[in-house]
């Protein structure tokens, strides 16, 4: 089973958890019907679409409403601290949560106490907290974009908002930033660096790059990073080896562009619809 935790931008949603479903283009979780236009619901929708194609894995979601005050994030953190041991998940993906180092450490401590440690994927705010905690190497995957990679490479920055200019200016020197992040122990075992070319990294070695098809407009579309993380999570949960999962996820995410013909005004839900087609081709064409 794949576990996905995060938040939704609706403070009327209390802490909810259970098996997630995609019904008529909406996320169904614990009798709630949630739009999938962005954020963790977009990640979940991408993972659920991929699971339809792959015929698994089952996806268990933990969500709470949070508009940035941290209230919902804290309820998710508290739930995980107390309950994560009970979750039978092979992969656990952390997403839009207010970065909070103390809570991060409590959650990681609880995860380390699980009978079988799942593969850990951190994206968005939880990745920021994981880096700031100094425990990045406890994770199997981080999925930064170019700006977030600069943040990982800046040992001083507690949040991308404080990434120093001389490092931000090096956004075209992706491999140097990757090495810097590993030198300071601020990277997970694997990275998927999202950008004009996606870099797949394992233990400070670039093991693959994915650069085609290329649709520059996709950078503007909110949620394309979420869908990539959703695809990666699902492929890992389906038993793909981490590097193969990362390459297939990056390829499929790009192929969604091929099938959806995006402009900078395209909404991510349009791309999610193309996932089965895109994933079929990405898996079919993957290197032996």
């Amino acid at each position: 089973m794949l576990g996905i935790v995060g938040t939704v931008p609706d403070i009327r949603v209390p802490l909810i958890h259970g098996p997630a479903r995609l019904v008529d283009g909406h996320l169904r979780l614990a009798d709630r019907r949630l739009p999938v236009n962005r954020g963790t619901p977009a990640l979940l929708a991408a993972a659920l679409k991929a699971a339809e194609y792959l015929d698994g894995p089952e996806i268990y979601a933990v969500l709470a409403g949070d508009r940035g005050t941290g209230q919902g994030s804290r309820s998710v953190y508290a739930f995980l601290t107390e309950q994560v041991r009970e979750l039978d998940v092979q992969v656990l993906t952390f997403h839009y949560l207010l970065p909070d180092v103390d809570w991060h450490n409590k959650v990681l401590f609880a995860v380390e106490a699980m009978a079988r440690r799942p593969l850990l994927i951190a994206d968005a705010g939880f990745m920021y907290a994981a880096k700031m905690s100094g425990q990045a190497s406890a994770y199997d995957f981080f999925t930064p974009d170019a700006g977030e990679l600069a943040f990982l490479a800046d040992a001083m920055a507690p949040h991308p908002f404080y990434t120093r200019g001389f490092i931000l200016h090096q956004h075209n020197k992706v491999e140097e930033l990757i090495h810097q992040a590993y030198r300071d122990d601020n990277a997970a075992a694997h990275l998927v660096v999202k950008g004009e070319t996606d870099y797949i990294v394992r233990n400070d070695q670039v093991v693959a790059t994915v650069g085609s098809p290329s649709f520059p407009a996709m950078e503007a579309i909110g949620g394309t990073g979420d869908t990539l993380t959703g695809l990666l999570s699902c492929l890992c949960g389906a038993g793909f080896e981490p590097t193969a999962a990362a390459v297939a996820a990056a390829t499929a995410n790009r192929l969604c562009g091929l099938f959806a013909n995006p402009t900078p005004a395209t909404q991510v839900a349009e791309l999610i619809d193309a996932i089965p087609q895109a994933l079929a081709r990405a898996v079919r064409d993957r290197p032996a």
Binding site: T7, N37, G68, Y128, G147, P160, F161, E219, G222, A265
Partner: protein, 184 residues
């Protein structure tokens, strides 16, 4: 809960020469309070800046307000009147982290995208409608996108008014840069 306040209060005062201290920081419980206070103090033309907190009080998503200590009484008065007093005010001498002030601009022809730190905002050139918001990782990003996408730059709520986090603040910078470039 706020043991760190003692750490920054006692330690720094004891080891700093008094004549070197000319700046202080105001610490608030939530980033959204910092953003509201900055707005209020700047409206009164008080010389304040939002900065990163010293390492000993960083929790993950936080800002402080830096100000000249000589203005402390004025600032306290304004904040008292507004009912927005900080958790504490302490002097600082060490350099503070500076928010990002670099912008990356991508011209898609019919659309213009501005990135500030990890946040990107894209508008249609002809209508100035915000068509997408991407990047970021704090939980107010999806909320900000839901409130702003589909509205024009002039009609959309400002991220600083409805956001709560550093990602929201970064989006405000991208929004201001787009307004500047589009003469809004």
């Amino acid at each position: 809960m706020f043991g760190w306040l003692k750490r920054i209060g006692s330690g720094r005062r004891a080891t700093t020469r008094s004549d070197a201290v000319d700046r202080g920081i105001m610490v608030f419980e939530h980033t959204s309070e910092v953003i509201r206070c900055e707005t209020l103090l700047k409206e009164r033309e008080l010389p304040v800046r939002v900065m990163g907190p010293p390492p000993e009080i960083q929790t993950g998503c936080d800002l402080v307000i830096e100000f000249p200590l000589i203005e402390e009484l004025n600032i306290r008065r304004v904040l008292e009147q507004a009912g927005m007093l900080p958790l504490t005010i302490v002097p600082v001498t060490a350099p503070l982290l500076t928010p990002v002030d670099l912008f990356a601009v991508t011209d898609f022809g019919d659309y213009l995208m501005v990135r500030a730190a990890n946040m990107k905002m894209t508008v249609a050139r002809d209508t100035l409608e915000i068509v997408n918001i991407s990047g970021g990782g704090c939980p107010d990003v999806p909320y900000l996108a839901s409130e702003m996408v589909g509205k024009t730059l002039a009609a959309a709520p400002r991220p600083r008014d409805i956001g709560h986090t550093l990602c929201g603040y970064a989006l405000q910078l991208a929004y201001e840069e787009l307004c500047r470039r589009c003469s809004v």
